[in-house]
Symmetry: C2
Subunit: 246 residues, 2 copies
């Protein structure tokens, strides 16, 4: 089963969602490719529009409302896509608030900039069952198309809040573990279990001085080699999450 071929006007209207601002204003985000489309369908998120090539539609559009689905050519898909290599399907879906249990480990992110890192951190948190991420206001949006892609579906299962981070940390009432060059080596720090905050800093500048004042437990992943300057932020997040709740 195919869909109705898309009109020129509709294509133009939807191509406007390549602007992140447009998505933000309307509380929507874009999901691309068969893998992430399957995650979206499985998550039960409200789907506003699906544009896909005939091949994808014939396999997946069976149960969808006809007015939601458009068939596009590969060239039309390219006009919608945020990627150099569009991949069969493009979806516009509604953002929804994921509810989280209180008293569980919260991941806090201070000024993470790279979309690949942000998505990988969300994917890693999802692996460890961490569903609540609190970010400084200038952290990259979790609805950035590259973040959505790298999250491998975590975006549908994670609550991500953007806040005044130093203020939030100071008021959260939980111990805050943050990576610092002056911290205690990881092996010497007992894992806090749940009811704690793990704070990860910017890729090149680390945790900001303002956020650092709220850190109650500075910790350090020892630099055994002595030559590398730093770890990638998503690798550091993975090591710390595994240490704390692996």
């Amino acid at each position: 089963m195919g869909g109705k071929m898309i009109s020129k006007n509709k294509l133009k209207e939807l191509a406007a969602y390549r602007q992140q601002k447009r998505c933000d204003e309307e509380g929507l985000f874009v999901v691309e490719g068969p893998k992430m489309a399957a995650e979206a369908l499985a998550s039960g998120v409200a789907i506003r529009t699906v544009c896909a090539v005939a091949e994808w539609l014939s396999a997946h559009a069976g149960g969808m409302a006809a007015d939601v689905v458009c068939e596009v050519s590969p060239a039309e898909l390219e006009r919608l896509s945020n990627f150099k290599t569009p991949n069969q399907v493009w979806m516009l879906v509604e953002r929804s608030e994921v509810s989280v249990e209180s008293g569980r480990l919260v991941l806090a992110l201070d000024r993470i900039q790279d979309p690949g890192n942000m998505g990988t951190i969300m994917r890693t948190a999802d692996w460890f069952g961490v569903r609540h991420i609190v970010c400084s206001a200038d952290t990259v949006s979790c609805f950035n198309p590259k973040v959505v892609q790298a999250s491998m579906g975590a975006v549908f299962r994670t609550r991500v809040d953007y806040v005044d981070l130093p203020q939030w940390l100071a008021a959260c009432g939980m111990p805050v573990y943050g990576a610092s060059l002056h911290g205690r080596p990881l092996g010497e720090v007992p894992a806090p279990g749940d009811n704690a905050v793990l704070l990860i800093g910017n890729e090149s500048r680390g945790i900001s001085p303002e956020a650092m004042t709220a850190v109650t437990h500075p910790i350090l992943i020892p630099n055994r080699g002595g030559t590398a300057e730093s770890l990638n932020a998503s690798v550091a997040a993975g090591i710390l999450l595994n240490y704390f709740i692996g």
Copy 2:
């Protein structure tokens, strides 16, 4: 101090090194940007050619032989660069074999495909002092420009061998720890310390059946969330390296 402006012929000749094959044949690789150029200079690697904009040259080319250095315009740098956004300096350097101590932990990579993952794994290994990486023949080249960049200098400090991996693992005479869905949870496995091999598999297919036969200690990073399908390969490598030698 600036350099001699590059000739059209020289530019054409050097632009040919955008082909990885050309670099492979001549035992060279390309290093780009001020950060990696500084790592190259500090490493003592043999530098064949430096092409840079006047600004970089005036600050860094003081001690370099005149016949090695060319000044280029931003447009000329763009013709040489492997990146969308070239960054001040392009260098052609010689590959050299890094010597490694025996009896130390060796990292083995089975079919890692993504250059960003490969570079990040090299960077993480460098952080933990792991200087020897053994790869299946179809793992991405450590001299791929994106790998070099993501390695953050580790490429100058790491010995990377490309081998028949199942054969190498079977003959290495060390215990081989490999991530497997049927492995023992990480927390239950005593860290082997040195004199062991840690094997990381392909991003989507994991460790190949052929390499898996050489794994003596299958291990598992527990999936506490129960929803994510997998971890990013470089995050998994970081967690395992930290567990084993952190």
